[in-house]
């Protein structure tokens, strides 16, 4: 990766409101949600399943719009009054929960996809650059395999490299390590931090795992259950660069201790909400 680019990617969310479904039967996924993400920082969003965090992420990426409030990127309006939906673009790239590598392209072709379709690089140049990036990220050797032939841990890393290849302003990660076992996860964390240190891209990372959040993030935003809004903000003052030894440090344990109760409270609320909805809606609720 080249020298770190100047800090950009500051996100400003103000009073965001997102309602799913039509007005009368609509369900508010996000309501009165306001918080900031500083340029170049790793911001972790923690919350129970179904609380609306993915909805927020999708609004930033431009997959859908907001019914109210606004989102700004580096002072520029992404979506809000006058522009209900942000444009989808390679400045804000999403890494999806279930993986979205194209199974019909090799890993290398996947990584090189962005610049090729944007017309920024010719095919040969893009493939070469992709090869270099993958080697830097420790993925040498699997370039010519198809995603289906590689393990899920490797696939996640390839997908992140695919995103970083386009030098995005913001990297949006939607529970990318959810399906991995905790041993693989710890390796993934270090790999992610390694990539982050190379180019200081702003990262917004959604997770339900508090410990993952505190390990990785500069700041942790704990969301309420649906409709989501920030319940508690935590500044993680453990210095970067971090490695896995941090997990055993006292400060880390203190931070977990401070926030665990808040998270658990919301988890219980979400669980109750889920139970209620299953009872009302489904004929064959568990």
């Amino acid at each position: 990766m080249t020298a770190p680019s100047p800090a950009r990617g500051a996100i400003c969310i103000r009073d965001a409101v997102k309602i799913h479904g039509t007005d009368s039967a609509g369900v508010a996924a996000v309501e009165s949600c306001s918080f900031d993400v500083a340029a170049g920082e790793i911001c972790m969003i923690v919350g129970p399943s179904g609380c609306g965090k993915t909805t927020l992420l999708n609004a930033i990426a431009g997959f859908h719009g907001l019914e109210g409030g606004s989102i700004h990127l580096d002072g520029r309006l992404l979506c809000g009054p006058g522009q209900p939906k942000a444009p989808i673009g390679p400045d804000r790239i999403v890494v999806f929960q279930n993986g979205a590598l194209f199974p019909w392209k090799t890993n290398l072709e996947n990584v090189a996809f962005g610049p090729i379709v944007q017309g920024r690089l010719g095919r040969k140049a893009a493939l070469e650059k992709a090869r270099g990036l993958m080697a830097e990220a420790g993925l040498r050797g699997c370039e010519d395999n198809y995603p289906g032939e590689t393990s899920s841990g490797v696939r996640r890393r390839v997908e992140i490299v695919r995103a970083l290849m386009n030098e995005p302003v913001v990297l949006l990660l939607d529970e990318p390590y959810r399906a991995l076992d905790s041993l693989t996860k710890s390796v993934m964390h270090e790999a992610l931090l390694d990539m982050y240190y190379r180019n200081r891209v702003t990262i917004i990372f959604i997770t339900h795992d508090l410990e993952e959040a505190i390990f990785l993030g500069h700041r942790v935003v704990i969301m309420t259950s649906r409709p989501c809004r920030p319940k508690k903000l935590l500044e993680v003052d453990i210095p970067h660069p971090r490695d896995y030894a941090v997990v055993t440090s006292r400060r880390y344990r203190e931070l977990v201790h401070e926030t665990a109760e808040a998270v658990h409270e919301e988890a219980l609320k979400a669980f109750d909400l889920g139970e209620r909805e299953a009872a009302e809606g489904g004929r064959f609720a568990a």
Binding site: A61, F63, I88, G89, P90, R92, I93, V94, F96, N98, A100, F102, P103, W104, K105, F113, G114, V117, Q118, G141, C142, D144, N145, Y146, G148, E149, T150, S151, V154, R162, A163, N166
Partner: protein
């Protein structure tokens, strides 16, 4: 309804009980492994198959089938089977250099019939694919196109292909065009429908990912929609070739000269019964060969599917 969705079928019995295949490629390594040694996975699979009960059960099955045919017609001479051509009669006819009923692998007219049928199938299949795949892609991808075209499509699809025969004869001159038209129509429905399903079955996150990475709608179509739909398209093509044979045989039986369906029909009216069976068997072989050809083409185009860890050792 109609023939649009004839099943392609299950994994053939030969591999159905083979233990989970060759060792899957180890992750993070460079491509294939040399775990099996010379000959590779194919030889390994073959040996395993021979060691399993599969081939012997298969032989028992064929023996029972052919045996009962032979016994009931030629040995026991059961009354119901009095007029049926016997197994040995048919086989002798098929390979004789001077067949009593004029049809054997040594007579040129045999191959003429085969070629005529094959030619019709080829034309119909190519036409149906060239029209059906784009139609299906559009039906799946564009809401507007679907709203206008699908209602007509679905109104016509339930009509059995043979019900079109008289109309086809009226519409088109000659005896060849109606036959090809009917076959093309049947294949077209199957291809277009399955292609449309393929497009609708695409994982939306792939589309979103491509858009995030800066792809224009056309690029999304080319790099995501078409490759993702390809497995379904090929399923549609396999179904379509089966449907094509079905319709062709029917059309040939009703109208038209030459062709395997024609052979089967006229052999009945001219009381040359062994030829009926020869025709049927030939139909089976040729039909299977064409299906296999389509399947092979699909496998080559979709190499990435064969190597998918999830599929190997699974279904």
């Amino acid at each position: 309804m109609g023939l649009g969705v004839q099943p392609v079928g299950v994994v053939p019995a030969v591999t159905a009980d083979t233990p989970a295949g060759a060792a899957p490629a180890r992750p993070e390594s460079t491509g294939g492994d040399r775990v099996i040694g010379h000959g590779g996975p194919a030889r390994f699979l073959a040996l395993q198959w021979l060691a399993s009960p599969q081939p012997y059960l298969m032989l028992i099955g064929y023996a029972l089938f052919l045996g009962s045919w032979y016994l009931s017609v030629e040995v026991l001479k059961l009354p119901r089977f009095a007029e049926m051509p016997g197994l040995t009669t048919v086989l002798r006819e098929w390979v004789s250099t001077d067949p009593t009923y004029g049809l054997s692998i040594h007579t040129p007219i045999y191959y003429q019939h085969i070629l005529v049928s094959l030619r019709r199938i080829a034309i119909a299949f190519v036409l149906a694919t060239a029209l059906g795949v784009p139609t299906g892609l559009l039906l799946g991808w564009s809401r507007r196109f679907r709203d206008y075209v699908f209602p007509i499509f679905e109104a016509l699809r339930p009509i059995p292909i043979l019900a079109w025969v008289p109309l086809a004869i009226i519409m088109f001159k000659g005896s060849e065009t109606p036959v090809v038209f009917l076959t093309t129509l049947a294949s077209f429905f199957a291809t277009a429908l399955n292609t449309m399903l393929g497009v609708r079955a695409i994982d939306r996150t792939h589309v979103l990912a491509a858009e995030c990475l800066g792809a224009s709608p056309w690029q999304v179509f080319r790099h995501v929609v078409v490759p993702a739909a390809l497995p379904y398209i090929f399923t549609g093509l396999e179904i379509s070739i089966g449907v094509a044979w079905f319709s062709l045989v029917a059309a040939e039986m009703v109208s038209g000269q030459f062709g395997l369906g024609y052979v089967i029909n006229t052999s009945y009216t001219t009381v040359e019964y062994p030829n009926i069976v020869i025709g049927m068997l030939t139909l089976g072989v040729v039909g299977y060969a064409t299906s296999a050809a389509v399947r092979l083409a699909g496998n080559r185009l979709m190499a990435w599917r064969k190597r998918d860890l999830a599929l190997v050792g699974g279904g």
